[in-house]
């Protein structure tokens, strides 16, 4: 038992129990994505429709590989937190928990798959 008053335990954390962590994460990842996504749109747009060799050549370039890895990782973390907010707005109880777990698993699965493909192409 920790000798904390109820007020001390609650201070700065609000109803979520995590304070402004979620909000701050969306802000940080959002600004990060704002810097890299426009470049990525052009890289991906130009690679789309090419032959397999052209696609491999594009994504094997170190700059493009790192950029794509960042867009996937940061983008999907940003998506996960955003989707969680939506789920929390429209569902409750078991449905809410199941959906949050499903979205989390989907995001990590997609990130791992994307990074695996990138590693295979670029290394």
């Amino acid at each position: 038992m920790r000798y904390l008053t109820a007020r001390k335990r609650a201070e700065g954390k609000g109803a979520s129990g995590t304070g402004t962590e979620h909000f701050w994460h969306m802000k940080v990842s959002g600004v990060g994505l704002a810097l890299i996504v426009p470049i990525y749109l052009f890289v991906f747009g130009r690679a789309l429709g090419g032959s397999r060799q052209e696609v491999i050549d594009t994504f094997a370039h170190p700059f493009v590989a790192i950029l794509t890895g960042l867009v996937l990782f940061v983008g999907l973390r940003h998506f996960q937190n955003g989707a969680q907010t939506m789920i929390e707005d429209y569902s409750k109880g078991t449905t809410r928990r199941a959906l949050i777990i499903a979205v989390t698993a989907l995001c990590y699965g997609l990130t791992a798959t994307g990074l695996f493909a990138l590693a295979k192409i670029a290394l």
Binding site: K27, G30, A34, L110, G114
Partner: protein, 127 residues
């Protein structure tokens, strides 16, 4: 703790009692575009995985991704990402406590709609 029985609260955003306005519609669109982008990410990761695997697998994924269906998804997603991008910038501005008065908020709303279409067309032209 006294009574911990959960209170029956309505879920947001109370669409049944809310008159659509430019500010609310542009806010809802931010959510739709952001969440909808997962479709493009799924297609893109699948296409990359196929490219890393084999010629035969790439042929299948590439056929889907460059079909009319793929073109539709990626064109809509391009608009969605630009819309979400501008909406995110607007969020940073709002979070700083600026632009909250109605005339400015409405101008920013139109800025999102027009700006996202313009940026989409520019990207389509340049790519």
């Amino acid at each position: 703790m006294a009574d911990t029985k959960p209170v029956e609260r309505p879920l947001s955003p109370h669409l049944q009692v809310y008159r659509p306005q430019l500010t609310s519609v542009t806010s809802i669109l931010t959510r739709i575009t952001g969440n909808g982008l997962i479709v493009a990410v799924l297609l893109m990761v699948w296409w990359l995985l196929a490219a890393s695997t084999s010629d035969a697998y790439f042929a299948v994924a590439d056929a889907v991704v460059t079909s009319w269906f793929g073109d539709l998804i990626f064109t809509l997603s391009l608009w969605a990402i630009w819309y979400h991008y501008l909406a995110g910038l607007r969020h940073l501005y709002f979070d700083a406590g600026k632009g909250m008065d109605i005339p400015t908020a409405e101008k920013l709303g139109w800025g999102l709609i027009v700006g996202s279409v313009v940026l989409t067309l520019i990207t389509l032209l340049l790519v």
